[in-house]
C-alpha cells in the first residue's frame, strides 16, 4: 500500500500525463516524438496508476479494459493501412499524402510553423502504433505488478 501523498499526486498527475502522451502521438509528424514515444508516455501514466493503488483497486480498474484486444487492433490497423497501399501502389505506400483526404494536405516546403492536417498515412500509423504500444507496455507492467503484489498480500 502506498501513502496518501502518492495517491493524491497520482490523481492530479495522471490526466496530465495521458494528455501529454496523446499530444505526442498526434503531433508525431510535426514535432519530435511519434507513436512509440507517445505510447510509452501514455503507458507510464497508466503505470503510475497501477503502482499507486492497491491490488484490489487495480484489478477493478483494469478488469473491464481489454488490453490484448487493443494491442491486436493497433497491430491490425497498421497492417491494414499497409495492405491498402497494395491496391494502387505497393505495400506501406504513403497513399494519402497530398491527396486531400483527412491528414492529406500538402505541406509547404521549407521552414514552416507546422500544420496538423498533413502527413498522409503517418498520423494514422502513429495512432495505431501508439494504441499498440500503450496496451502492450501496460499489460507487461500490469502482470508483473500483479505477481509482485500477490506475494505481499499472501
Amino acid at each position: 500500500m502506498t501513502t496518501v501523498i502518492i495517491r493524491t499526486m497520482t490523481r492530479i498527475l495522471t490526466p496530465a500525463i495521458l494528455v501529454f502522451g496523446s499530444y505526442i502521438i498526434l503531433h508525431g509528424h510535426l514535432t519530435p516524438g511519434g507513436g512509440f514515444q507517445g505510447g510509452a508516455v501514455f503507458a507510464s501514466g497508466l503505470a503510475l496508476l497501477i503502482i499507486a493503488f492497491s491490488r484490489k483497486r487495480v484489478k477493478e480498474m483494469f478488469e473491464k479494459v481489454p488490453l490484448s484486444v487493443f494491442e491486436s487492433i493497433g497491430a491490425l490497423g497498421f497492417l491494414g493501412i499497409g495492405l491498402m497501399g497494395i491496391v494502387m501502389y505497393t505495400f506501406l505506400r504513403n497513399f494519402i499524402a497530398n491527396s486531400g483526404a483527412p491528414f492529406g494536405m500538402p505541406t509547404p516546403e521549407g521552414i514552416n510553423p507546422g500544420f496538423l492536417n498533413t502527413g498522409g498515412t503517418l498520423p494514422y500509423l502513429n495512432i495505431f502504433v501508439g494504441l499498440k504500444v500503450l496496451a502492450g507496455l501496460t499489460s507487461i507492467v500490469l502482470i508483473l505488478f500483479l505477481i509482485l503484489r500477490r506475494e505481499e498480500n499472501e
Binding site: G34, F36, E63, P106, E109, G136, I140, I143
Partner: protein
Amino acid sequence: MRKLLGIIALTVFSIILFLTAVHLRSFGSPPHAEMDKYFIEHAQKEASANNVVTSVVFDYRGFDTLGEATVLFTAVSGVLMALRHYGGRKK
C-alpha cells in the same frame, strides 16, 4: 582455465573494437550521405511531413517499423505466456 581463456578472448576482442573505432571515418563528417540527403530534401514533398525522422520511420523505412511493432507484439505475447501461471486477471 576457463576464466583465463575468457579473459584472453575479451582482451583480444576489446583490442579489435578499439582498432575499429580508430580506423572508422572521423566523427561528425559522414563521407556518403546520398540517401540521407534525399530524405531531407524530399520528405516534405513526398511524405508531406515536417518531421524528417518520422517520415523515415513510417514512410521510407515503414516496413522496419512494422517489424518493430511486431517485435513488441511478440515480446508482450511472450511475457504474458511465460507468466500465465501466476494469477493475472483470469482467476
